[in-house]
């Protein structure tokens, strides 16, 4: 495919979207912005990298994510040019072997890439970390997630290679920002030792599973509800013990928990102890398991955690007023990546 494609006599964006989808298989079915050379150049101006530099090679198509191709997808998704450094970081994260992109794109599971933006850049670029952070209604969140999906579709080849049985809405766009102003703790990237002013986490998981607690003042009561959601038999974490969970606590839940003197470590440890099911039940339900040896060796009457380490439980503060939080289970054979945005 040449870098440039002629679309003659098409002026209206609706026509361009239909033409691109039907003729080339590009786009997600929603209207797109035509990636004209002028628009792509404007986006390229927001990075010091050469347009021809290959940021990553993405499986299963082994497509080269050049800076120009990334910018083209950013334009199509409706991104502000200033999102380029964030998008490039997301693509770098996506290409790391721990993500297992070949598996992500080939699985029948509905997994989608959740991008979580941390730090100074959240406000600088206008990401929404507060009310309705998972959307809709914010351009930065909506278009960054959509551009990541476009790059999966167009460069990684997920239009043919994504084998998801049902898909899921977060495959259109899945980006949120961490609410540091209302968090009682340091941001998640800092917690991991990423000290850059801004960072991005990429995690392949399910849609968010809501849990609410309108009344509790004890951390245990709030977190018992999270643990209940985590311990469902229906998610891949139940049979893949190395799989992570992302727990997005709303500020009010996080503040209530922190007021009792709990930090992330205490939350992780509590959820690890509470989110369990009996070994007998898990064995009856799953003949195919990817478990630690000590789990396989445990007696039937023991209650096993649905993830094999407290460190697999990531705690992030997201959202605005109210008492709704969520659990995001993993695809399974993948590990989230947190990188500085530079």
């Amino acid at each position: 495919m040449n870098e440039e494609v002629n679309l003659i006599e098409l002026a209206r964006v609706e026509e361009i979207s239909v033409e691109l989808l039907e003729k080339y298989g590009w786009g997600d079915g929603l209207p797109i912005i035509a990636p004209t050379p002028e628009r792509v150049d404007e986006t390229l101006a927001e990075t010091d990298l050469s347009p021809d530099e290959i940021v990553a090679v993405l499986a299963p198509r082994f497509g080269e994510a050049s800076v120009r191709a990334i910018a083209t997808n950013a334009v199509m998704a409706g991104c502000s040019p200033k999102l380029m450094p964030v998008l490039i970081t997301a693509i770098r994260a996506m290409a790391r072997k721990e993500i297992n992109l070949m598996g992500v794109n080939a699985t029948t599971h509905p997994t989608a890439p959740l991008a979580i933006v941390h730090g100074k850049i959240v406000k600088e670029l206008g990401f929404n970390s507060e009310r309705g952070a998972f959307g809709p209604g914010n351009r930065a969140n909506a278009t960054l997630g959509r551009a990541i999906r476009f790059i999966l579709l167009h460069i990684a080849g997920a239009n043919d290679g994504d084998a998801s049985t049902q898909g899921q809405p977060s495959k259109y766009t899945y980006c949120v920002a961490e609410n540091e102003d209302d968090s009682p703790w340091e941001n998640y990237a800092q917690h991991l030792g990423v000290t850059a002013p801004s960072a991005l986490t990429l995690f392949f998981g399910e849609n968010p599973h809501n849990f609410h607690d309108m009344e509790s003042e004890a951390p245990e009561n709030i977190l018992d509800k999270a643990a209940s959601v985590m311990a469902t038999l229906g998610c891949n974490n139940a049979c893949i013990s190395s799989a992570e969970f992302f727990i997005c606590l709303c500020p009010e839940h996080a503040q209530t928990i922190a007021a009792a003197g709990w930090g992330r470590k205490e939350v992780q440890e509590y959820l690890y102890q509470k989110a369990r099911r009996s070994a007998k039940e898990l064995r009856q339900q799953f003949h195919l398991r990817v478990w630690q040896d000590w789990m396989e060796e445990s007696p039937d009457e023991e209650f096993l955690p649905v993830t094999d380490s407290p460190e697999n439980i990531a705690i992030v503060v997201v959202g605005g007023a109210g008492k709704h939080s969520c659990v995001i289970p993993s695809w399974g054979m993948t590990k989230s990546q947190t990188l500085p945005i530079i």
Binding site: L7, G63, T107, F150, H154
Partner: protein, 91 residues
């Protein structure tokens, strides 16, 4: 109107399918089982049919995790011991 392609070039060298053996009689067969439910059952039944019809010899059965690519040494090992491999079954 001219626009940029969003696809990027392909980095990997394009490879065609291996040439199919002209004659299956007596060839050495391997199974690469991705361990998904019924994958092994399906391939064992297919092997049985091939044994009955062509007298193929099953010499190696390997398993791999369905979510990960087969390790290179596993593929190399199979390629040295067998002439055809049954694989590809999923859910």
């Amino acid at each position: 109107m001219k626009i940029h392609s969003p696809e990027g070039n392909i980095a990997a060298e394009s490879r065609g399918l291996a040439t199919a053996p002209k004659d299956l009689n007596g060839v050495k067969l391997g199974i690469l089982d991705n361990t998904k439910p019924n994958a092994g059952l399906f391939m064992k039944q297919a092997t049985k049919a091939l044994q009955e019809k062509y007298g193929v010899e099953l010499v190696k059965v390997e398993e791999k995790n369905a979510a990960l690519a087969a390790p290179e040494d596993l593929i190399q090992g199979l390629s040295k011991e067998v002439q055809i491999v049954l694989t590809g079954a999923a859910d």
